[in-house]
């Protein structure tokens, strides 16, 4: 039974391996995306009329003459949010490899991999404790930001 399962697994992994367009398709995709993007923008630029004038080229400010420039100070909260996002998103990116590998410890089809990992000393408890430490660090940063009033917008 177990052998049967192994064989069927080998087949299912072997067949797609032969049928993998891989990153060649990505190149085609990027080229197509770039082509569509440029074509659409050129089309309207070439077909549409071009009647320019000082008023038409002015910045839109509800029909009033623009007051000053837009390159000015803005609320620092936007900056803080961007910084916080960077912190959190990078940490979440670290979650992903863990999220892929950890469930495989209990999946029957990855049994040999899991036992290899266990032999090397990376058991389930390693995965759990590692992530608990990581989450604790994340939580400390989160609580710090909360107490500092980063999430208060009024």
């Amino acid at each position: 039974m177990n052998q049967m399962h192994m064989i069927s697994l080998a087949q299912s992994t072997a067949a797609p391996a032969a049928q993998e367009p891989g990153y060649a398709m990505l190149v085609v995709l990027l080229a197509v995306a770039l082509g569509v993007t440029i074509a659409v923008q050129l089309l309207t630029h070439l077909i549409g009329p071009q009647r320019r004038g000082p008023v038409k080229d002015a910045t839109y400010e509800s029909g009033v003459d623009p007051i000053g420039d837009t390159r000015r100070r803005f609320n620092v909260r936007f900056y803080v949010v961007a910084m916080l996002f960077l912190l959190f998103d990078v940490e979440i990116v670290f979650f992903y490899p863990w999220g892929v590998l950890f469930p495989r410890m209990h999946m029957p089809e990855y049994h040999s991999w899991a036992s290899q990992m266990r032999d090397m000393g990376f058991g389930v408890s390693f995965f759990v404790i590692e992530m608990l430490i990581f989450m604790a660090i994340l939580t400390i940063g989160y609580v710090y930001a909360w107490r500092k009033g980063v999430f208060r917008w009024d």
Binding site: A15, L29, V32, L34, H45, G48, E61, L84, P103, F127
Partner: protein, 404 residues
């Protein structure tokens, strides 16, 4: 059928190119314009008016007329803008929505009669082994279009609109990532087609296992696509058009099209990850690889996606827009902790050996875990003095920095 066409269709690379043409044509050429029309019709219906009804029967040709008009209009690039960035911004928006549709597993695998036995092609443009990450990465780059558009326009409305939109998209990407992580931990694979196949094989959609994670992804999806009730970026009453105020002709149309294409993509992602993709009980399974079965799967997938899109539209005309402070508070004070808790809960289940259990046991434990989280959330919400979206007047001022 000529021989070379048969060999082409049997090869994954050429079949992917066919799929690219089909999915681009369907999403950008048919579905996005159809969505625009549907949105106008649905909003008209909900507001008790007619909506577009002049061009063609029931106004079905309205998007075509609009498209022609967009192309024929003058492409104004105002004098004060940063010209390079001004052109690059809509390009990024369109570029990203072309990339986004690439990894969606539309209809499982197809086995053509002339192929050797056991061989199949995947109905996917890009069957990457990191398809999930690719999709997430493509979605994240979309922020640049908004930032650059607002900054390059040199217009106050556009600038503040883009600031808001950026903060919003960044904030909601965190709970989105956490919600998707839970779905990832169910399958232990970054391949979207594997996720769908496993859901179809067990008949147990991920939404039944982890409703909280799905809710996080759904709400973040609304926010990421700048749809109501999170459409502050283009709050007409305050900011005119938001980040695309200065754009005209096809450049404006590109932003518009990209918004709808992103809606389709995020719906398709939600369907693939949480609603079993092309699977329906009693329908074709992963082992049915005939052409007819593939078409049925394709239809089921699109039915689910269209259902999602209709849901998006109903929500738009049902819920009022959030205020900006409510929006940020909801993301950081409610959804991020909920996402962390959902990940922790799933982590505990995985550590206990969740993947080795029977489907019933999995369903019961995962659902129990979710119920527990909802209970804790309600308890915390009940003990707090005001809802998370209310004005937090009772809060003391932030403690000043101690003098050193």
């Amino acid at each position: 059928m000529p021989e070379f066409l048969k060999t082409m269709l049997a090869d994954q690379f050429w079949f992917s190119i066919v799929m690219l043409a089909v999915s681009l044509g369907v999403v950008l050429g048919v579905l996005a314009p159809a969505c625009i029309l549907a949105e106008r019709k649905i909003s008209a219906w909900m507001q008790d008016r007619y909506g577009p009804n002049r061009v063609g029967p029931w106004g079905v040709l309205q998007p075509v007329a609009d498209g022609v008009k967009f192309i024929l209009k003058e492409d104004i690039i105002p004098a004060n803008v940063d010209k390079v960035l001004f052109v690059i911004a809509p390009s990024i928006a369109l570029f990203i929505c072309v990339l986004g549709v690439a990894v969606i597993p539309w209809a499982g695998e197809i086995h053509f009669p002339w192929m050797p036995a056991g061989q199949t092609v995947k109905t996917q443009v890009l069957p990457l082994d990191i398809g999930f990450l690719f999709m997430l990465a493509a979605a994240s780059v979309g922020v640049y279009a908004v930032v650059l558009a607002g900054y390059a326009s040199n217009n106050k409305y556009a600038f503040y609109g883009s600031m808001r939109a950026t903060a919003q998209m960044l904030s909601y990407e965190v709970p989105l990532g956490l919600g998707l992580l839970v779905a990832l931990m169910i399958h232990g694979s970054l391949r979207l087609e594997v996720m769908v196949d496993e859901q179809a094989a067990s008949g147990l959609w991920n939404v039944f296992l982890h409703p909280i994670a799905f809710l996080l992804v759904l709400i973040s999806g609304f926010a990421e696509t700048n749809r109501a009730p999170f459409d502050l970026a283009e709050a007409e009453q305050e900011l005119v058009g938001g980040f695309h105020t200065e754009y005209s002709a096809m450049k404006f149309a590109v932003f518009f099209l990209a918004e709808y294409a992103n809606m389709v993509t995020s719906s398709a992602l939600a369907v693939a990850l949480f609603f079993g993709g092309w699977h329906i009980w009693g329908g074709p399974g992963p082992e049915d690889t005939g052409l007819i079965a593939a078409l049925v799967k394709f239809a089921i997938f699109w039915g689910k996606v269209l259902g999602f899109i209709a849901f998006y539209m109903f929500i738009r005309w049902t819920l009022p827009r959030y205020r900006f402070d409510q929006l940020m508070r909801m993301a950081w004070k409610a959804m991020v902790p909920a996402g962390m808790a959902a990940v922790a809960m799933m982590g505990i289940l995985v550590a206990l050996g969740w993947h080795g259990w029977s489907p019933t046991m999995r369903l019961v434990t995962a659902f129990g875990g979710n119920a527990l989280l909802v209970g804790i959330g309600l308890l915390v919400a009940g003990r707090s003095k005001a809802p998370i979206t209310g004005r937090q007047d009772y809060l003391p001022p932030v403690r000043a920095q101690r003098a050193t």
